[in-house]
Symmetry: none
């Protein structure tokens, strides 16, 4: 079954709100085995809706509309679809009662135009909205399934999961296996996997994020065991070639992997940041339960704080400068000692937009790593603006931690 | 000019990523006077792209494609558009040189398939990508303007603002005045501004972001002075009513305003974070030039580090607990003394998802503020998940700093 999602709403077209409904519906539809092919967003105007409906009827079997089911005169999704398909509308007693009950439960009077919401296409299945006033609609017409859901994401999600999924679920299974990589570029990955990328089942696609690439394998079939087997085989072939770059098979963030590794090994960490300015600590502290493993973080932004907080030698600063391998090492060793942890990392660099020189260009970052047994520093040069340089330096730290943990 | 935005990318259709490009482009296009009518998203496959192109040519004058300009074989936006329109492709020497220079500057070898990116439609205008390898394209064909931009949002935005806007800007002037507010909700704002919101020129719209609301005034006309005057009058009327909530008229982040105020007053700041875990320091260090004013930041995640780093009294911790007004105050006072700065802030709270109790629920956050003359603490309870609570606590700190600076 091929699906098209049509979002009706001027606020989307004006760029006032992000279209999170389409994002959510796409993910859920793929998960239940329905192939999504198109997303369309249009203004709240009959002619655009009629046009979008006609195009979608010509190319998809399942049409999901969101938005335009409210009580005001702008809301015309049901009305235009019925007119275009030649279906009459009629008052649905059950919907009418639910809307009245809804207002009663809120202790608020029902506005007169809310009754409009209880009119549904003749022969339609009424989809209950437990947390709002806009009923959903399911109709079948000339072999096409048409679903209308309200725009507010909370209402839409609840109704989709509870009432729509049972109506459209497929026997045909589609499963997705993610492989999260770090430290290798998209084109290098493609070169290594070249002969595999023509595979039809599973298909293989690469998705670059800043400094990382996700690989997605999508397998299809009627037999769940076979689908699982197809995914497993391909996953193993790919892993065999690029294992050193893979940090997860579970669509996780790299910092989640780091926190979990630290937890499992019962290791404590401390962070001393200069150019990344707290970004590494902040990313780690977004992960629930990090307090078991993160002892402290210090942003030694000034030279004075480097000396006072983590015992960097004043002569090292004078001789090599704050952005140097030597200072990165002393920062990591200093916070390791001070916090009494098992592992410590540091960053010092030039994030820009000013402060670069020929010898020390913008983007130069030293990372220090210290453990109870050893310590070392890594030099990198990152491209991009201030934020990109900070982000990539943080990723590099996580990649390094992944390798040593 | 009527515009359609077409996003090419299987990752969008699969629900792997949110379509932030369309959101951004819609907003910017309206701001420069171009009416957006449709958003379409499709898979990375030639037949879908060809179909979307043909539909868009039939209903829009300006077609903006994003995505599918990468080096891999999936990337086929340019190729399919050229084939459909009957345009040949040729190597663009300038683009080729830029791509080579890009790899040279990264000190990385250029992968063979990157050269594919330098092939552009014959007669096209080459749009430079300063921070990536995918060139943009501008072509005119049978009275339609067609623009192709890379999918990564940073590259797309930079190229759109620098190279695309001058190519599509209208004589008809549309100007936007932003009013950034903090500390007031959208519905309260709407109530205060009720009588003004029906204004047609400028129009007034409110855009809530987490914990903040931006007000956008959009004025239109052929005479620039008149447009400016309309905006200025409305800006003054609104400012008169809600001045205490306005932190900028320049569409800035609140942290930019804080850094600039500190710079102007030549004040130094230090941050001691617990529940926000480095987020405040990290947000401040994203602002260029912050090193003039930020002395250091410490994330005292453990109780031990609160005692050792910022001299919190062990008995205060035992008596009141880490999440308390008393500890927040001692943290701020402690880092003020230690760092020798003019102003210090601290946070301690329960970000969740676990760790809450009846007396100290998830979302409870104490903020400490210390200066040379005085110190005080603020208690707040924020709603939402871990990340929302951290974000809102950071915003509250910035709002408080704005008021006292």
């Amino acid at each position: 079954m091929k699906a098209e999602i049509i979002s009706v709403g001027t606020e989307l077209i004006l760029g006032n709100i992000l279209n999170t409904n389409t994002y959510y519906l796409s993910k859920r539809l793929w998960e239940i085995g329905i192939e999504v092919l198109y997303h369309t967003s249009i203004k709240d105007e009959p002619k655009f809706l009629e046009e979008a409906l006609n195009i979608a009827l010509g190319r998809a079997d399942l049409l999901i509309f969101t938005g335009g089911l409210g009580p005001t005169s702008d809301d015309m999704t049901k009305e235009v679809i019925c007119k275009t398909l030649g279906i009459d509308m009629e008052l649905n007693k059950e919907a009418e009662k639910d809307i009245k009950d809804y207002f009663y439960s809120l202790n608020r009077p029902m506005s007169g135009n809310n009754i409009k919401q209880a009119y549904l296409p003749k022969g339609a299945q009424y989809l209950i909205n437990e947390i709002g006033t806009a009923p959903g609609v399911y109709i079948e017409n000339s072999g096409k399934k048409i679903i209308m859901l309200p725009g507010p994401p909370k209402e839409m999600k609840l109704m989709f999961n509870k009432y729509v999924i049972p109506l459209i679920k497929q026997d045909y299974i589609i499963k997705v296996q993610t492989i999260n990589t770090i430290g290798i570029g998209e084109s290098s990955l493609e070169t290594i996997l070249m002969d595999l990328t023509s595979s039809k089942n599973p298909t293989i696609a690469t998705y670059p994020k800043e400094g990382q690439v996700d690989i997605k394998l999508v397998a299809k079939g009627y037999d769940e065991d076979k689908v699982d087997c197809l995914l497993k085989e391909m996953k193993e072939r790919i892993s065999g070639r690029i294992s050193e770059y893979i940090y997860s098979y579970k669509d996780e963030k790299i910092e989640e992997v780091i926190v979990n590794k630290l937890k499992r090994k019962k290791l404590k960490i401390a962070i001393c940041e200069s150019c990344t300015g707290g970004l590494i600590t902040s990313k780690l502290t977004k992960i629930p339960g990090v307090s078991e493993v993160l002892e402290r973080g210090i942003v030694t932004y000034s030279n004075k704080s480097k000396v006072e907080e983590v015992n960097v030698n004043k002569t090292t600063l004078d001789k090599y400068g704050a952005v140097s391998e030597e200072v990165a090492l002393e920062m990591a060793q200093g916070i390791l000692e001070k916090a009494g942890v098992d592992i410590a990392v540091s960053t010092t660099g030039i994030a820009g937009p000013t402060g670069g020189s020929n010898k020390k260009p913008i983007g130069l970052v030293y990372i220090g790593i210290a453990t109870r047994n050893s310590s070392y520093a890594i030099k990198s040069i990152f491209k991009g603006d201030r934020e990109s340089i900070q982000k990539r330096a943080a990723l590099k730290v996580f990649d390094e931690l992944r390798k040593i943990l």
